[in-house]
Amino acid sequence: MKFGIAKLSSYRRHRFAAPALLLVALLGVGSTFSVASALTASKAETQSAMSTQVSEGKQIFERGCSSCHGLNAEGSKIAPALIGVGAASVDFQVGTGRMPMADMSQQAMRKPPVYNAEQSAALAAYVASLAPGPASVNEAAITWQRDGNTAQGGELFRTNCAMCHNFAGQGGALSQGKYAPTLMGVEAKYIYEAMITGPQSMPIFNDKTISPAEKLSIIKWLKAAQSEPSLGGASLGRTGPVTEGLLAWVLGLGILIGIAVWLASKAR
C-alpha cells in the first residue's frame, strides 16, 4: 500500500497528469449524470423545465433585484443576502408587492405587485436554487376554513403577534418609523409565509415553536376578527382608547356644547 501511494504520487508531477485527471473527472461526472438521467427519465423534463424557470428567474433577478441584493444574491450594505431565504420569502415579498422596493424608506410597503405570478415563481425558483430554504406555500394548502381553532388561535395571536400587530391585527408602530402592518385583508398564504420567513422586522416563528396546525388557528382567528361585524357600533379603527377619547371630546362634548348654546340663546 505504502508503495502504491508513493508510486501514484510520483505520477502527479507528470506533465500529462492534469489533462488526464480532468478527462477522468469529466467522464466520471458525465457517466453518473447520464446514469442518473437514465434512471429518472420521467423527471428529466420537469428538471429541464425547472432549470429554465431558474434561469428565467436569474434573468429577472439580475435585471430587477441585483442592484441592491448583489449579482449573486450575496447582499450588500443596503439589502440582505438572499441565499437560503427560500422560495416562501420571495413569494411573500414579491407577491405582496413589497419587493422590489419603490424607494429607500425604512420599510417596504405593501403595494400592487410588479411581477406577475409566473415571474414571481421564477424568481422564487432561482432564489431557492441558491440554497435550501422554506418552500413557498400554496393558498389551497392553508386550510384554515377546515382546520384550526379560533379560540386557540386568539390565544396564540395575543402571545406571539398582538404586541406588534395590535390586539385586533390592525398593526402598530415599531421603533424609528418601522411598523407592523395591518393583517386585515391579507391573504392566508401570505400570513403563513410571513410567519415562516420573518420578513423585514418580523422574526421567524418556526414550526416547532408554533406548529403548522397552530399557525392555521392563528389565521382562522384573524379571519374571524376581520369578518366580525361591528358588535357595539362603529369600530373606531379598533385601536384602543385614543380614538374613543377624541370622539368623547369632539362628538360628545361638542354636541352638548352646541345644544347648550341653543339652550341659552334667546328665542325670537
Binding site: 421603533s175 418580523m202 422574526p203 361585524p229 357600533g233 328665542a267
Partner: protein, 330 residues
C-alpha cells in the same frame, strides 16, 4: 385721575323684547304644537326601543355606511332610547325658550360677611362657652384628649395590616432554576436549539413540575423571550456570552421599567421594544437600554442544553424580575 371717574356709565338692563309667541296668538299656538310634537317624537323613540328589545333578535346585522354591519338589536334599542331621552329634553327646553316668561329677573346679592355686631357676639359666645367648659385652662385634659384621638386613628390602620402578606423576598423570586426546561407558551413543548433558526423567536415559560399549576403570578415573573441570532452578532462580555447557546439568547419578557410584556422583537435591527412606554433594548448587547424611560437592561437568563438536548436554564435569574423597588440592590 379725572379719566377714572368718567368711565362709561352702566346703561342698565336693556329693555325686554317680546318674542313672536308673546304677541301673536298664532305664533304661540305654533310654539305649543312644536313642543308637543317634540314630546311625541320622544314617545315614538320609546316605542322603537321596546319594540327592538322584543322583536329584533340579538345577532341580526344590518349594513350601514361608515359603520359596517351593525347589530340591529343593540343599534335600535340604543337609538330608540336616545330619541326618547333627547326629545324630552328638546321639548322641555323649547317650552322654556318659547313659551315661558323670558324677561330677565334681577335679584340682589348681599355681602356674606356678617354684621360687625354679630361677629363680635359670636366671638364672645365662643369665648364664653369655651370658658364654661374650661377649654383654655384644662391643658391636661386637652393634651390627653389629643393623644387619645391621635392614637385611636391607629386602630383602623393596624386593621388594614392583613390586606396582604409582607413582601419579604417575594419580589426576588421566580420559578427559574438550574435545569428548568424552556417550554413554549402556549403549548408547553420543550425546545431544542435546532427548532429555532436564525432570526426566530419563541415565547417560553418554565416547564411545570409534576402536579404544579401555572398561575398568573408565575407568568408575571417567569415569561421569557427566546431569540436566535447569528453568534457573531453578539457583543457580549465572556460571562454573558456563556449564558447563550449557539446564538440563542433568553431575556425576561417582563419590562424592567413598569412590568409590561416586552416582546416587540425587530429582527433586522435586533431591538426589543416595549409597547407601553417605548423603552428599546439592544439584544446584541445584553438588552442594553438604547431609548426610552427604562433604566436597566432586561434580565438575561443563562441557558444551556440538558442530556436530551433540550434547552434548559443553566441557573436561575441572577437579579429580580420586573420593575424596580426600594429593597432591590442593583
Amino acid at each position: 385721575m379725572s379719566n377714572e371717574i368718567s368711565k362709561f356709565q352702566d346703561p342698565g338692563l336693556p329693555a325686554h323684547q317680546h318674542r313672536k309667541s308673546d304677541t301673536d296668538p298664532k305664533a304661540e299656538k305654533r310654539a305649543e304644537q312644536q313642543v308637543a310634537i317634540l314630546f311625541l317624537i320622544s314617545a315614538g323613540g320609546t316605542v322603537l326601543s321596546i319594540a327592538s328589545y322584543i322583536f329584533i333578535k340579538p345577532g341580526k346585522f344590518v349594513f350601514l355606511p361608515i359603520m359596517g354591519d351593525v347589530d340591529a338589536h343593540q343599534l335600535f334599542l340604543g337609538l330608540g332610547m336616545a330619541i326618547a331621552l333627547l326629545f324630552i329634553g328638546f321639548g322641555a327646553v323649547q317650552w322654556a325658550r318659547r313659551l315661558m316668561p323670558d324677561e330677565e329677573v334681577v335679584a340682589e346679592r348681599h355681602e356674606f360677611r356678617s354684621e360687625e355686631v354679630d361677629r363680635k357676639d359670636f366671638v364672645n359666645t365662643v369665648k364664653e362657652r369655651a370658658g364654661v367648659a374650661g377649654l383654655g385652662r384644662r391643658t391636661l385634659i386637652k393634651r390627653s384628649l389629643g393623644l387619645a384621638l391621635g392614637l385611636s386613628a391607629l386602630t383602623p390602620l393596624v386593621l388594614l395590616r392583613d390586606l396582604g402578606p409582607l413582601p419579604k423576598k417575594q419580589l426576588n423570586k421566580n420559578s427559574w432554576e438550574a435545569g428548568t426546561r424552556l417550554v413554549t407558551d402556549p403549548g408547553d413543548r420543550p425546545l431544542r436549539p435546532e427548532d429555532l433558526e436564525v432570526g426566530s423567536v419563541a415565547q417560553v415559560l418554565p416547564a411545570l413540575k409534576n402536579g404544579e399549576e401555572r398561575t398568573l403570578e408565575n407568568i408575571g415573573t417567569d415569561a421569557v423571550l427566546l431569540i436566535r441570532l447569528r453568534p457573531e452578532d453578539f457583543q457580549l462580555n465572556p460571562e454573558r456570552l456563556s449564558w447563550t447557546h449557539d446564538g440563542i439568547i433568553a431575556f425576561s419578557k417582563i419590562c424592567s421599567h413598569m412590568g409590561c410584556a416586552v416582546a416587540l422583537y425587530e429582527q433586522q435591527t435586533k431591538h426589543l421594544l416595549c409597547p407601553c412606554h417605548q423603552s428599546t433594548f439592544d439584544v446584541t448587547r445584553a438588552a442594553k437600554v438604547i431609548f426610552g424611560p427604562a433604566a436597566r437592561p432586561l434580565p438575561q437568563l443563562a441557558i444551556t442544553l440538558d442530556e436530551q438536548g433540550y434547552l434548559v436554564a443553566k441557573q436561575g435569574f441572577t437579579e429580580p424580575i420586573g420593575p424596580s423597588f426600594w429593597e432591590r440592590s442593583s
